[in-house]
Symmetry: D2
């Protein structure tokens, strides 16, 4: 007979409350540093769960204006749960991490996508659009998300951790701080900033630590914004539940941390906070491949995709090349970032023909399972990038038809309470 005795749930190694500020909770940190001690330790093969607050640590609410986005405190991001040490992992090994599931908290079946202010977060089109804060709240209905702020759309989530990585060694950390510092030095006044130096303000380690250690972590710890050798904030949508990831190990125990869970995201999280951000639970198991860094020439993580990533075969695909079509027409030199931006602006213009506002379209391209492929990178001077919108996520037909579109009224997303867009 089925009994409680013969049914053993997977343990939750870090428990958090999504409604309490992150810096009041244990097991959360927001800098990368080798001296952060493991919060828990696992054996290879164990299945375990980790709870995560959303990346801002409960700063954003389920409501209909974007003032919380406007005023978000970015020194406190990203909140990571961890570290988790894996017994037997040593520098030079490969830590195999099975991302077995990623799900929102049952008690918090919603998430958000935000457009950040030019001066507080930015985003891909922060300058082009002189971005003002805006957001969409997404309701989770099982595998699907939909938003009262972007009507006519529903899609299955490619749920994944935006941010996951092993801890850097002291040497690696020094390398990061050096190379990023050099870049900042070259662009000292850039808005948005080109990179983020270590900053003790807002730094947090959710453990009882000696003050000197804590201070060292706060002052040296790498910010969590970019992806790096260890993984980090790669925002790869297909690192999703069901995928298997191979991380290089830099310190004893590997010290895996994770956060910034996304219910869904397109191939690029355009609007900075472009994914559907959520708090929730991630389920893992791990194993170790001794000497894996050498075996697989592992300078960065590699991964195997999930068999259950959403499949939408019908798509409208936009091209972009490295000429600033939507701006001054300037020719760039084989610049894939510019090409991506043009493809995205072409898609936004198309969605506006259907009736979405620019802000809705910007949020939608960030949040939905958009695919963006690199096309050409050798046909000088133009890089070419494509961006594909699945037609099946809309309740109306978005295919280009001879008669064109009858513009519909989809309202507007959540904007600032002062009404400025």
């Amino acid at each position: 007979m089925a009994t409680q005795a013969n049914s053993i749930p997977h343990p939750t190694l870090i428990q958090v409350d999504p409604f309490i500020p992150a810096d009041q909770q244990k097991g959360i940190h927001n800098r990368w540093h080798p001296d952060i001690p493991p919060f828990a330790t696992v054996k290879p093969g164990e299945v375990f769960k980790i709870e995560c607050v959303d990346w801002t640590g409960a700063q954003i609410g389920n409501n209909d204006n974007s003032d919380d986005i406007k005023n978000v405190d970015l020194t406190k991001v990203h909140n990571l749960s961890g570290p988790i040490a894996v017994e037997g992992a040593e520098p030079g090994d490969c830590l195999v991490v099975d991302i077995l599931d990623v799900a929102p908290f049952e008690k918090m079946p919603w998430g958000y996508t935000g457009i950040f202010e030019l001066n507080n977060g930015g985003g891909l089109f922060a300058r082009e659009f002189d971005s003002k804060a805006a957001k969409a709240i997404w309701d989770f209905h099982g595998i699907y998300a939909s938003s009262r702020h972007i009507p006519g759309v529903r899609f299955a989530g490619v749920s994944h951790p935006g941010l996951i990585g092993t801890a850097p060694s002291a040497e690696l950390l020094a390398t990061w701080n050096k190379r990023e510092g050099d870049l900042i030095a070259q662009h000292p006044n850039a808005v948005p900033a080109v990179a983020f130096a270590p900053n003790a303000v807002g730094a947090y380690v959710g453990q009882d630590l000696d003050d000197k250690v804590r201070q060292k972590i706060a002052e040296e710890g790498a910010r969590t914004i970019p992806g790096r050798e260890h993984g980090g904030n790669c925002d790869i949508k297909n690192l999703s539940r069901g995928s298997r990831c191979y991380f290089p190990v830099f310190i004893k125990g590997a010290n895996l941390s994770v956060g910034d869970l996304h219910f869904s995201q397109g191939d690029v999280s355009l609007s900075f906070c472009g994914a559907i951000e959520m708090a929730g639970v991630i389920t893992f198991s791990t194993s170790i491949i001794k000497g894996g860094v050498e075996k697989f020439a592992l300078k960065q993580p590699i991964f195997l995709p999930s068999p259950i990533d959403p499949l939408y075969s019908s798509k409208v695909i936009f091209e972009g090349i490295s000429v600033d079509y939507h701006g001054d027409g300037k020719q760039y030199n084989m610049d894939a970032t510019m090409a991506y931006k043009q493809a995205a602006l072409n898609a936004i213009a198309y969605l506006m023909k259907i009736g979405y506002t620019r802000e809705q379209a910007y949020l939608l391209l960030s949040a939905a399972p958009i695919e963006s492929h690199v096309g050409a990178l050798v046909d000088s001077p133009n890089a070419c990038v494509t961006l594909a919108i699945p037609t099946g996520i809309f309740s109306h037909d978005i295919l280009p038809k001879p008669e064109g579109f009858t513009k519909q009224d989809f309202g507007q997303c959540a904007i600032r309470s002062d009404g400025i867009v």
Copy 2:
């Protein structure tokens, strides 16, 4: 009864011989210019075929050294078949082009992928590798390609035209020449060149034309290397047989031209001539959407993908970020091109662990149905790009296993007769 009388084959509007130099044949041109008259005219709805020489115009042979790549005359590329005028198409319309099939000539069931010399063609890693000419010959077996120069691999082609577009108007052409000229002026001595200015040397229009017109075309005609507003050399692998493409129309008749057929290509044609280049036949039908440019905000082509693009669900995926890991470790600022390059170099390093040479791996990533997605573009300072290798194209297992790889001997691809690699 089935009879010849009730069976009407689709007409071939341009016929070429893949074994004769392109500049000795009718219906071929190699510059973009509004004054190139249509070689043939079709009505909307007609199904028709166009034959194409390979992009070099028969310069490359089915043999086992790469001297022909080393010495290729690039002033003569790309050879385009056309233009084809479509009755009723006018500036501002959208020309809908169904790419119904793309196939090699029966009499020429092979193609090639080339690594070009740093000083004659270049390629994504021309400088990093100080590239010397190398190539792989691919044999076509129905839907599959395999190569004696890269053993252990067989894959289904994503056959497509590397180069397809409508003719520019005089204004658009002037815009191109201006903006690309400006870029060249900024990097006058770049190797490889950052862009290619109009060049009468090698210019060719396979029609009987007045000398003055011909001269004008040769002197002003845009080079075919990059993709632009009209389509052009976008090298988008999924613009494949079965796809439907929507082009802006710039002159009366639209004047569609096509060439540079690829039996297959990855998401980036890394090695410049990175696709499997072939001569062959493309089948089209067209229709017109009046005012389509306005209806769909069409600054560049958009397209719908084919239902028969090859599906390989199992993949090994490599990450790359905008730090020059395989070089000097320099930090770049949100540079997707650099991120792509790192992902590709990570993949090459992995394939070399299995036993392929660097040249074989470089050619393979270019030619096989590799997927490359843009990941992060807002996580300063690191762009993140992924590159996925399907495991099902190998006859051996390339998944990362605990025991690592036993390096196999796959020989080498075709190299220069002087043995320099």
Copy 3:
């Protein structure tokens, strides 16, 4: 800020305990009858959850022998949660049901697949194999299942309700009992039985009812074994989380019931209890299409598949035709059931070459995401059916290679404590 106040979880309308016998719990019934009152009522558009015990009501344990399968009490199956009435639904309408999620209880992360005794349950090969009870316990690791009783296999679940349907009207129920009674009358002594007549023994309605009503339900209520006009036990694996189903409505309120949740199943649940049976939670929302039965000619449910059904593109496919190859060689007349059986027996023979026992192979084909397509039904006298095994669910290579297989030792599944197989 994210708060409990602005986070409203989806309500659970029926709560059950998977460790308590079903007939001691509220909201569970195991017969189809129009007089079973709704246990709860919803409005169209509401998202809600329903908890379900496993189909046997906790009779099977997480252990290593199959005595519980041998002795299972089948008069008590299937335990259904419900009925749920939908406001506004009337006979002739179509009830649209979104199956938003299907998941095991967190406290019970395991399920089972059973081979039933010839005389107690049977199964597709009960007679051919003279079946003795056997089983496999599956552990759930996020989206994956694996079993200590069938080593070397791991796969993503196509989680779905084996049994879901609207309540029959009195007329429809009478039709069922008449036509099935006629069949039983024709085969009175068949083993296993050809159909199951109403049987008051074991009948259960988990509500406080008037005795007369309860008695009527017990005596007339249709058994839950087969699928019928209203849905029922169709065991369609792709009616999975993410699918949308359109049911005919036969009585006011529609009265939807659901149970027999499966973590996974192949296209046929061969071994009777062939899916991975589990207790768990299903998430729904509903809407009503007035007059939908007439609009869509709805004699039975239709559905739209989920975008996240597992995708394994590489497969080994077995053919079967309606000749009893594994038995006496008899020729059947266009019999797709026989053709399916031959394909399955061919697959079992193949898996035994690799090293699995007949029982392991039988269980695996039932539980894993096997695809079975009907091929030919008009090529007299042979129906043709195919059965496809995905290669990606195995940790070893099952492709047919020139060297054949080196038979591995995978042990045996759980068998009877008396050791009889």
Copy 4:
């Protein structure tokens, strides 16, 4: 340089004319018999082409009535090209056949789907519909087919040989004739016939043979209608170009024959001649696995699917169970054939709501890439089968919407010149 000298086309081993009756051509036969000598011999590894007439041998024309279907001479079918002997193949080996391509003749870019008369061919619903001859002509546009007789539909072909197999040994042939003869003896007057005994009328071997041998073949040779141990007329749509098939070998050389090419077909060729029948060219290569029958327990062919089978992810799926819903309501006993028929009739009824005639719907389900899965086979008394129609093959929306369908007028398919349907 590319030259004719370094370009070697794949040889065509059997050449036929699709406009000449099959029994006037060499290399064609229409019975299975071990004494038919190989028409050509290949070495393992060679790539070669085989041309095939359509299955009737040019009896059907590209026109707008179905009189040719009505009067078709079925003693002459199926016309097979071959046999091809493979050097080194011996009984007990496994012949690996790569189906590298399947394409129509360029000079004959059309095919047909036919509904056959009850008394001359039949079909799945021949009795239910009292079938009269009808047909649809399909035009091939590259990878797509569309029909003037079924407007509003276009789809990519899953092109495949309906009929492919190795030659039987004398013993195997005797087994076939015995078991099928027994079945015929049990149903001597069935209309349509339950099976087809050897029949010298219409038998043909397109080689110069001794009269005695020819007579023996004609009198004993197995008819080509059903699939059997050697492959044969399995009508498996996914045995498509790009697939790899493993056949048992029964006689020295294996003697592979092929014919009945289909441009496309659903999972069941419902209307007997339900695929899109075409004449065309198939490209093969072969290899041999010694002792493969024993190695893989090979009672029938197994195969690996193609990576380019058309992918249409959005579908409407119909259920069918083994109750005769569209007839007298009779309950059948676990009969998958009946369940399939109900699912198909449900789909036909649905398509008729949209505006197609019953004949058009019947033809469409046969010809388009319909998927039919076996669902339940153990839930007594009802087998359950599903049938999925891809929505992407229609130019209009066929999803079930709240407003139902506005019935469109799609005309009618080609019918008999006497107007009888």
